[in-house]
């Protein structure tokens, strides 16, 4: 649709507050021939239990409903894989449901668990996601991912999903990047940053100490995107436990408030029609009146340059929790950096920067843990986990990993969860000698964007420390 009714723009109002109690992750890797999928999921759940000083058996006693995120049955060659995992976790005969929204599967799995708690159906729910993309040859894996595009109109064109993104990268570079070499370097800086942060993460599959030149000289995947602009293909699992207030405080002294909203847009970029920009609280209609003059072609919204689904998810979520300006009200974000270009697009969709000015979030240094221009803490650090580019993209788990990573900062336990020597050893990874604790000091609120396809589904998750909940929302 290109116009909205008032009912469609209703800001969700939940019946009760929902809390994130704990979360856990497995190791992430390109392949794990030594483990079955259930073993990876149990690793994630065991970490979640340990995080609140419980055994898995104790944690399971609280769970009433289970949501399982698993993007592609094809990859595991197992229909109803959710049922296999549910059984192996020993959670039968509790109600469970599989969730599939492509790359946003993890976020959507949390969205479902959130609504279950808010409605009162359950007091405590499990949201678990996983993917294993190692059980087919890589080119067949690329084909399977391309089957998430329109199989009649797009998939036969190369069977390569990166290509469907690359046309957006090309257009964005032309319109908002003005085809400047400096813009291309800014894209590359994101890859350098995220792979560098991944070095501090024992879970991460793709840590690298690289330069902008390394990114610009890496092999072309789909022009203008190069190999180091692109996310990883991963195996791994992540999970979270959501609960109502009473149950959450029975389980831990430190639950976090959690709220989610979702948006969607056409599966095919081809089907996007022109429309007015739905405005976030920190935007005005007037500021975009001359967008097409400042950036020729930029007045075609969302065109090939924006993600309407991300805009709508944040449109609902910000108003649900009372966010006026994400840069001021949040302390960190985890974004879906499937590609460096889509990371920049998302800065604009979620209002960190106005449309057309996403690059300044990187160039200002605001997106870094420590601003490289000033040496001071970054204003709004992004993807300290390493993101999809440096940490992992085990699709069904990705959105959950992002939420747990944000949570660990607000819990002030990021250093503990990433610096533990025993974990580095258990994952058979060497802790860097220059390992740095990326804990965002005093983090009170954070955001995670889970994103599918070329923007078909997006969820926006807001985590808040319960002592620092914003006012002005609907909750």
């Amino acid at each position: 649709m290109i116009t909205f009714s008032d009912k469609q723009l209703k800001i969700p109002k939940m019946s009760k507050p929902v809390y994130l109690v704990t979360g856990g992750m497995s190791k992430f890797a390109r392949a794990m021939p030594e483990k079955r999928t259930e073993e990876i999921c149990i690793d994630a759940m065991t970490e979640a239990a340990k995080f609140i000083d419980m055994t898995p058996a104790q944690l399971k006693k609280y769970i009433h409903t289970c949501y399982y995120g698993h993007f592609a049955d094809h990859f595991g060659d197992q229909l109803l894989g959710e049922s296999v995992i549910h059984d192996r976790l020993g959670l039968d005969p509790l109600g469970n449901c599989g969730v599939k929204t492509g790359g946003a599967t993890g976020g959507t799995t949390f969205w479902e668990a959130y609504k279950t708690i808010a409605s009162g159906y359950s007091d405590c729910a499990l949201a678990m996601g996983w993917e294993r993309m190692d059980e087919v040859p890589t080119d067949e894996g690329n084909n399977l991912i391309s089957c998430a595009a329109d199989k009649d109109w797009e998939t036969p064109m190369g069977h390569i999903y990166t290509g469907y993104y690359a046309v957006m990268a090309q257009k964005y570079w032309q319109v908002f990047g003005k085809q400047e070499e400096s813009f291309r370097k800014t894209m590359a800086e994101i890859a350098v940053k995220n792979r560098g942060y991944a070095r501090m993460n024992p879970h991460a599959q793709g840590p690298m100490d690289i330069t902008v030149e390394d990114v610009l000289n890496s092999p072309i995947v789909a022009h203008p995107l190069r190999a180091l602009d692109c996310c990883l293909m991963s195996v791994g699992a992540a999970c979270g436990i959501l609960a109502d207030e009473k149950t959450a405080y029975e389980m831990t002294d430190n639950p976090l408030r959690i709220d989610l909203a979702a948006g969607s847009h056409t599966l095919r970029v081809a089907d996007r029609r022109n429309m007015e920009i739905p405005l976030l609280p920190n935007e005005t209609k007037e500021q975009y009146a001359d967008l097409g003059q400042r950036f020729p072609g930029g007045d075609r919204y969302p065109g090939f340059t924006g993600f309407l689904a991300a805009r709508m998810a944040s449109y609902y979520a910000y108003r649900m929790v009372g966010i006026q300006d994400p840069t001021k009200d949040l302390d960190l974000v985890e974004l879906h950096d499937a590609f460096t270009i889509s990371d920049i697009q998302t800065y604009e969709d979620i209002g960190i920067r106005p449309y057309g000015e996403g690059r300044t979030y990187v160039e200002s240094g605001d997106c870094y843990h420590t601003n490289p221009n000033t040496g001071e803490p970054g204003k709004l650090p992004a993807n300290l986990s390493g993101g999809l580019i440096g940490n992992m993209h085990a699709v069904g788990a990705t959105g959950i990993m992002q939420i747990i990573e944000v949570g660990q900062h607000i819990w002030n336990r990021w250093g503990e969860m990433h610096g533990d020597e025993a974990k580095w050893e258990r994952f058979d990874r060497e802790k860097p000698k220059d390992w740095k604790n990326l804990q965002v000091h005093g983090a009170k609120r954070g955001l995670a964007i889970s994103h599918a396809g070329v923007g078909s589904h997006v969820t926006c998750t807001i985590l808040q420390h319960p002592d620092h909940v914003l006012e002005g929302g609907t909750l």
């Binding site: 084909n143 190369g158 290509g163 257009k171 032309q174 789909a222 095919r268 996007r272 029609r273």
Partner: protein, 205 residues
């Protein structure tokens, strides 16, 4: 690592076909080419798993889009238009073809936009890739072009098979009128005024 095996003419000749008879699919011939599992072992010979080879043929309906896929083989580009007088999108022309209007859900009218495409199609965006997923049939490097048509509210993705893509360039569709495959690649794109004698085998303007 090249892992593809292209089926031989003999293997293809054994593959089954499907017809619709009395409203039901009627497959005939061979459909499942069975190969044995093989073990996966580590360097020490320890069993880690197995391969599961499989050959499957999906049977897929084009439904209301069949006219689009059939028309390409006849050298025609068929779009669809919402003609519901009460719809906020009345008059919108859709390419990709949409069977129903996304706003009112009325059934769209099929419209022929072949001449429009030949006269005023331009490249909105593009990309070039050497890499493909398994089962790709297009020659590499693949050049995608997103094609804008005058008066059409959406932007079609296609493959440019000749020349180099550039944003804003005029392109023209060509159609596989000889032995069509009835898939989207029955229509490819070439720069405007590309010589007829240099079109791919089986394709015509």
């Amino acid at each position: 690592m090249k892992m593809e095996h292209k089926a031989s003419a003999e293997e293809d000749s054994k593959r089954g076909t499907v017809k619709v008879v009395n409203g039901r699919y009627k497959p005939s011939g061979l459909f499942h080419f069975i190969s044995p599992n093989t073990p996966i072992k580590d360097e020490t010979g320890k069993l880690m798993g197995i391969t599961n080879p499989r050959d499957m043929t999906f049977i897929h309906s084009y439904g209301g889009e069949a006219i689009f896929f059939e028309s390409m083989g006849l050298g025609k580009l068929m779009a669809s238009r919402c003609d519901n007088p009460d719809c906020e999108s009345k008059g919108s022309i859709f390419m990709p073809f949409r069977i129903h209007c996304p706003d009112c859900l009325f059934k769209n009218t099929v419209v022929d936009i072949t001449e429009r495409a030949k006269k005023n199609a331009i490249v909105h965006s593009f990309m070039i890739t050497e890499r493909t997923g398994a089962f790709n049939t297009l020659p590499t490097p693949i050049k995608f072009v997103n094609v804008e048509f005058e008066g059409v509210c959406t932007i079609l993705m296609g493959a440019l098979i000749r020349g180099e893509p550039k944003i804003g360039m005029r392109v023209v569709p060509i159609f596989k009128t000889k032995n069509p495959d009835y898939i989207i690649t029955d229509m490819l794109w070439v720069p405007a005024d590309w010589p007829t004698e240099d079109l791919p085998e089986g394709y015509t303007y």
